[in-house]
């Protein structure tokens, strides 16, 4: 039962591409123009020929591309309501309709006057656009498959980190240490631990509300604070950011785990981790900064894997609209992630 559920949820991810994403648009433009170039190469005998054919193809391709993308851009939320096969069919029909009508209306621009009534030409145009559109959809579908694998990798990784003996046994030992003197606090700690494990074992989702991620991060930090006491200080700065904004899951918490393990634990006096969430226009900025006594240690394998996974997921999810920067100073370490501010479920991203 459980397995069936998770398979279904996985499928949900292989949705239509997000036509409102800059990266998706760029990819579509580049791929279709590359196909056009290939076509002109096949038809040509000289370099001049290639340029000429390319121009000829583009007189049709460019208007078709731009009007289709404009249509798809505005129809995105409507299209998202359908299952993937239906959605794909709708997108393809839309593209065929657009290209055939432009070809037809273009009249003499595309064909010599004596061929104006040629039925074959119209069919050929529709067929070609269907093929190109199909290829593009196939490409995006493969891409999202890779994304879903990266997501389950992330989940596995967090799970592994949770079960990382260092964290698990030290936390249990700490809970045992306070259970006699402060039973209430011990109860709360065990509850936090259960939540953290649950999150790591839960089904894959592409985006979750920020509030949930913040809450889990706070539970994680509370557990670490139980062990380290005053040595671990946390400074949350949340500016103009709603808790309902959607972010990729397990983005913040692994960053904090790195900050604690590499930044705070090696310091006798401890230190402060600052987490800043802010909004500028359509972008959400997430900054985690911590002291870093041994920056050389950051080549630590586990650390690198976690960071690489976050970067990979951001790439797949937001394409060129996300950026990721690491700054490693003499005694501090700073990660800054910028990605689109997604505020409504309807706009759920499906690259």
């Amino acid at each position: 039962m459980n397995k069936a559920l998770s398979i279904r949820q996985n499928n949900r991810q292989y949705g239509l591409p997000n036509f409102r994403n800059l990266g998706t648009l760029l990819r579509i433009l580049i791929i279709s123009n590359t196909l056009a170039l290939l076509q002109s190469l096949i038809m040509s005998n000289s370099w001049m020929d290639v340029a000429q054919h390319m121009m000829q193809i583009n007189t049709l391709l460019t208007p078709v591309l731009f009007s289709s993308l404009l249509l798809l851009w505005s129809a995105q939320s409507w299209l998202n309501r359908f299952s993937y096969p239906r959605g794909a069919l709708l997108v393809t029909s839309l593209v065929i309709a657009v290209s055939v009508s432009i070809y037809y209306l273009g009249g003499e621009l595309y064909r010599p006057p004596e061929q104006l009534d040629n039925f074959f030409d119209l069919v050929r145009c529709g067929l070609l656009s269907a093929v190109v559109c199909g290829l593009l959809l196939l490409y995006f579908r493969l891409r999202s498959r890779i994304l879903s694998r990266a997501l389950s990798d992330a989940r596995l990784q967090v799970l592994r980190a949770r079960i990382r003996p260092h964290f698990l046994f030290n936390t249990i030992n700490a809970v045992l240490g306070i259970v006699r003197a402060q039973p209430k606090q011990a109860e709360a700690a065990l509850e936090d631990m259960a939540d953290l494990f649950r999150m790591a074992m839960s089904d894959v989702q592409d985006l979750v509300p920020l509030g949930r991620e913040i809450q889990l991060s706070k539970q994680y930090l509370a557990l670490e604070q139980l062990r380290m006491g005053d040595r671990l200080r946390v400074d949350w700065q949340i500016r103009d950011v709603s808790e309902d904004v959607l972010i990729p899951p397990l983005l913040l918490q692994p960053l904090l785990e790195n900050a604690v393990y590499h930044g705070i634990e090696p310091l006798t006096e401890g230190g402060s981790i600052s987490i800043t969430l802010s909004r500028s226009g359509d972008q959400l900025h997430l900054v985690v900064e911590n002291p870093c006594p041994l920056c050389a240690d950051l080549s630590h394998q586990g650390n690198r894997i976690a960071l690489r996974n976050i970067r990979e997921r951001l790439d797949l999810l937001f394409d060129v609209e996300a950026s990721y920067q690491v700054e490693c100073g003499k005694d501090f370490y700073r990660v800054e992630i910028v990605f689109p501010y997604v505020s409504r479920i309807k706009e759920r991203l499906q690259p």
């Binding site: 045992l176 240490g177 310091l267």
Partner: protein
């Protein structure tokens, strides 16, 4: 013998307060069947050395992973005390150390610590002898962060980055910092091996800190002409032996 003398004096070192709490609770439970006395606790290595210089302990329960100075290094420094305590290591997980302990039959407790295991370990500790310093050194893949000397009942820690040179003299080794000299009883060859990254040999009896090299001078006493090295923050010039002359070239190039 009265009962007070029999009581096993226990000291706890762990950087996490709840972990110390846990040990305190368990020692309390053990004390019903075993004469015990908790003589103190510390949150880091330096504090532990200070306190243990004043309060003698028979057994130290020592966490391995601690900031700044890990438990294995601390155990080596503790061995310099007039009556070194028996160390029982505690660790949540440290695959490398555990394997090494098993090989050398060194006692350790796994966190979360069980009452029964602690009880056994304390019982054994009554008759146990401290783990040899050499054996502890084998456990540690990284070089120590401090050298320690025993002086007037106290253990002094000399951070390794403050050491300018180490020179063997008869039985002892002179440890020179910018402020003063200390004497330690260790082998120069072992030190050279342990701190190969930090020190370079310039003479059969002398290692200098590579970071501290200020420059080289031609000269020499008693007709023996050769190179001398000047160290930062020190007026003294140290002679480089004929066999180690290549150092001058290596460092002028770098």
């Amino acid at each position: 013998m009265n009962e007070i003398e029999l009581a096993l004096r226990v000291f706890i070192v762990d950087d996490e307060p709840p972990a110390r709490n846990r040990l305190r609770d368990l020692l309390n439970d053990c004390s019903e069947q075993l004469a015990l006395e908790l003589v103190g606790e510390a949150g880091n290595g330096r504090e532990a050395l200070d306190k243990l210089a004043d309060t003698a302990a028979d057994v130290v329960l020592l966490d391995i992973r601690m900031p700044q100075m890990d438990g294995i290094e601390l155990a080596q420094h503790l061995n310099k005390l007039p009556k070194p305590p028996v160390v029982i290591f505690t660790t949540a997980y440290d695959a490398y150390a555990i394997k090494a302990f098993d090989l050398r039959v060194i006692d350790y407790l796994l966190k979360p610590i069980r009452l029964g295991r602690l009880f056994e370990a304390l019982n054994r500790a009554r008759v146990a002898v401290p783990v040899q310093t050499e054996m502890l050194r084998e456990l540690l893949p990284d070089p120590r962060k401090n050298l320690s000397i025993h002086e007037r009942g106290k253990i002094h820690l000399i951070p390794i980055e403050e050491v300018l040179y180490l020179r063997a003299e008869l039985k002892y080794i002179t440890v020179r910092t910018a402020e003063r000299e200390y004497l330690i009883e260790e082998s120069l060859n072992a030190l050279e091996k342990e701190f190969a990254m930090r020190f370079a040999r310039i003479h059969r009896n002398c290692l200098i800190a590579k970071d501290a090299i200020a420059g080289f001078e031609k000269g020499g006493d008693e007709g023996e002409s050769g190179w001398l090295v000047k160290l930062k923050g020190l007026d003294e010039l140290l002679a480089i032996s004929r066999r180690q002359q290549h150092i001058v070239k290596d460092f002028s190039r770098a």
